[in-house]
C-alpha cells in the first residue's frame, strides 16, 4: 500500500511538467498536421527534438536529487527498500514519457505523408510495424532508468565527488555508446533525435536514432532491428539488477 500511495504522490509531483510537455507536444504536432506552411516544419521538428531532450534531462535531474544528493530524505525513511522507491519513480517516469511520446503518434498516423500511411500501411505486416513502433520505445525507457539508477548507485560508492561524477558519466556514456553502436550498424548514416519515413527509429537506451540506408527499403519492416530492443531488455535486466543490489546494499548511504 505504501508503494501505491508513493506512486500517486510521484504522479502528482510530476503532473505539471509532464502535463505541460504533453500539451505543448500535442499542439506542435497538431499544428504540423494541419498547417500548410511547410516553412515552419523545421521549427516544429526542432521543438519536438527539444522536448525529446528535456524529458530525459528532467528525469535524470529528479533521480539525481533523490538518489544521489538525497535532498528529500523523507522518502528514504519509509519502511520500503530503496530499490522499490526507485522502481516506483521509474514507473511514473515511464508513464509520463509515454504520454508525451504518444502525442507524436498524431503525426505518424494521421498525416497522409506520415510514417503509417506512407510506409507501415503498405508493409508486409502493418501489425508488426505498429508493434515495433510502440514496443521499441516502451522498452527503451526502463532500460534508460535502470542505467541511470545503476550509475547513480555506483557513483555513491566513491567518497570524492569528482570520482563519483566521473563514475556516473562513464557508466552512462559507456552503456549508451555500446547500445548506440548496435543501433547504427549497417546504416549509411544516422541522425539523433529525428524521425523519417525511410526507416523505423531505433532506441539506444534513451537516445533515439534514425538510421538511413543507401537504398531505401521497399518494405519498412526490413528496417526493424530487434537487436536494439534486445539490448534495451538486456540493459534493463542487468543494470536494473545491479542498481537494485547497490541501492539496497550497505555501501549506499545518503
Amino acid at each position: 500500500m505504501i508503494l501505491v500511495h508513493q506512486f500517486k504522490l510521484e504522479c502528482r509531483k510530476h503532473l505539471a511538467v509532464f502535463g505541460s510537455l504533453t500539451g505543448l507536444s500535442a499542439l506542435i504536432n497538431l499544428y504540423f498536421l494541419f498547417s500548410t506552411q511547410q516553412d515552419l516544419a523545421f521549427l516544429v521538428l526542432t521543438a519536438n527534438m527539444v522536448i525529446g531532450l528535456l524529458v530525459p534531462l528532467y528525469i535524470y535531474t529528479d533521480l539525481y536529487k533523490e538518489f544521489f544528493t538525497g535532498v528529500m530524505p523523507v522518502n528514504h525513511l519509509l519502511p520500503v527498500r530503496t530499490s522499490s522507491l526507485f522502481a516506483v519513480k521509474s514507473a511514473v517516469f515511464i508513464l509520463g514519457s509515454m504520454t508525451v511520446w504518444s502525442t507524436t503518434l498524431l503525426e505518424i498516423f494521421l498525416n497522409p505523408a506520415g510514417l503509417y500511411q506512407m510506409r507501415i500501411e503498405q508493409s508486409s505486416s502493418p501489425a508488426l510495424g505498429i508493434l515495433y513502433l510502440v514496443l521499441s520505445k516502451l522498452l527503451s525507457l526502463p532500460a534508460g532508468y535502470a542505467l541511470i539508477g545503476f550509475a547513480l548507485a555506483a557513483g555513491k560508492r566513491f567518497r570524492k565527488p569528482q570520482l563519483s561524477h566521473l563514475c556516473i558519466v562513464v557508466l552512462l556514456a559507456g552503456g549508451v555508446a555500446a547500445q548506440f553502436t548496435l543501433a547504427v550498424q549497417g546504416s549509411w548514416h544516422w541522425s539523433i533525435g529525428t524521425s523519417s519515413v525511410d526507416a523505423f527509429k531505433q532506441y539506444a537506451n534513451l537516445l533515439s536514432v534514425t538510421p538511413v540506408f543507401r537504398v531505401m527499403q521497399a518494405d519498412i519492416n526490413d528496417t526493424i532491428n530487434w537487436l536494439t530492443v534486445g539490448s534495451n531488455v538486456l540493459v534493463m535486466l542487468l543494470a536494473g539488477s545491479a542498481a537494485a543490489l547497490l541501492l539496497n546494499g550497505r555501501g549506499y548511504e545518503l
Partner: protein
C-alpha cells in the same frame, strides 16, 4: 529493563575522518535520553545509522534487537536536523502523506497536535516560519506510535518561546512504552527534558547515566558536567 538500542564498538568513518570511534551505548525502553555533544561529535552520524540513512559501519548496532533496515524503520520515528517535508504540500497533505507512509501514524493525533499549535491545515509548508516547520515536523514524528523516537537537534536555531513549545510537545507525548533519543548541543534550559543523558565526544560516549545520578555524583548542573567532560 530491556534495551531498545544497543551500540557496541560502533565505528563509522567518512574517508579518513572517524565520525564514530568504537561507540558504546545502551538505551533502555521508557526513557528520554539526551545525546549531548559539540557540533561534529558524531551525534547526527549515530542517528542516521539508527534510522538506516547511513548503512556502512563497523561494530554492533541493534534497534529493538534487529539490525537497522526496512523492518526497524517501522518502529523508529525520525526527525532530521533539517527541513525534510515537501515544501509544496499543505499541512493537511503532510498528514495524509505520513498516514499512508507509516502504518503506526495516527491522523487524529496529528490533527489535534497541529490544531493546538495554531497551524492552518491549508497552509503550504513553504509558507511556514522555521519554528512552525519544526513544530509541524515534530508533531508528525510524534503522531506515530513508534517504539523509538529519534530527534536530531530539534531545539537548535529556534527562539526560546518555540523551544519551550517543542519541549512541551516532547514531554506531553512521552509514554513509558516509548523511548525518545534527543540530540542537542544546547544544554542550558533543556535539562528538565531528560531522564538520562549520554555525552558524546570524538565519536565515543564519554559519560552516560541518569540525570539524577550524574548531578548527584558531580554535584553540579549538567552544563557544567558537560564542560568538564568535553574540554
Amino acid at each position: 529493563m530491556e534495551n531498545i538500542l544497543e551500540c557496541s564498538g560502533l565505528s563509522k568513518s567518512y574517508g579518513r575522518k572517524m565520525a564514530l570511534n568504537g561507540l558504546e551505548l545502551k538505551v533502555q525502553r521508557g526513557k528520554i535520553v539526551g545525546l549531548l555533544g559539540r557540533n561534529g561529535a558524531g551525534k547526527t552520524t549515530l542517528m542516521k545509522l539508527i534510522v538506516s540513512l547511513l548503512r556502512n559501519y563497523e561494530g554492533t548496532l541493534l534497534v529493538d534487537g534487529k539490525k537497522p533496515g526496512v523492518e526497524t524503520k517501522q518502529i523508529v520515528s525520525y526527525l532530521p536536523d533539517h527541513e525534510f517535508l515537501y515544501p509544496w504540500m499543505t499541512v493537511e497533505e503532510c498528514v495524509t502523506f505520513f498516514g499512508h507512509a507509516f502504518p503506526d501514524f495516527r491522523r487524529d493525533k496529528a490533527r489535534d497536535m497541529i490544531g493546538s499549535l495554531g497551524l492552518n491545515v491549508k497552509d503550504k509548508v513553504k509558507s511556514l516560519s522555521k519554528g512552525m516547520k519544526e513544530q509541524l515536523s515534530l508533531s508528525l514524528a510524534f503522531a506515530r506510535e513508534a517504539k523509538l523516537y529519534v530527534l536530531d537537534e530539534p531545539l537548535a536555531a529556534v527562539d526560546p518561546s518555540t523551544r519551550d513549545k517543542i519541549m512541551k510537545i516532547i514531554l506531553d507525548h512521552f509514554t513509558s512504552d516509548s523511548t525518545i533519543l534527543v540530540s542537542t548541543h544546547l544544554i542550558q534550559g533543556v535539562e528538565p527534558l531528560f531522564t538520562d543523558i549520554a555525552i558524546v565526544d570524538e565519536g565515543r560516549v564519554q559519560l552516560q547515566g541518569t540525570v539524577a545520578d550524574i548531578k548527584r555524583e558531580y554535584g553540579m548542573h549538567l552544563e557544567d558536567v558537560f564542560k568538564q567532560i568535553v574540554k
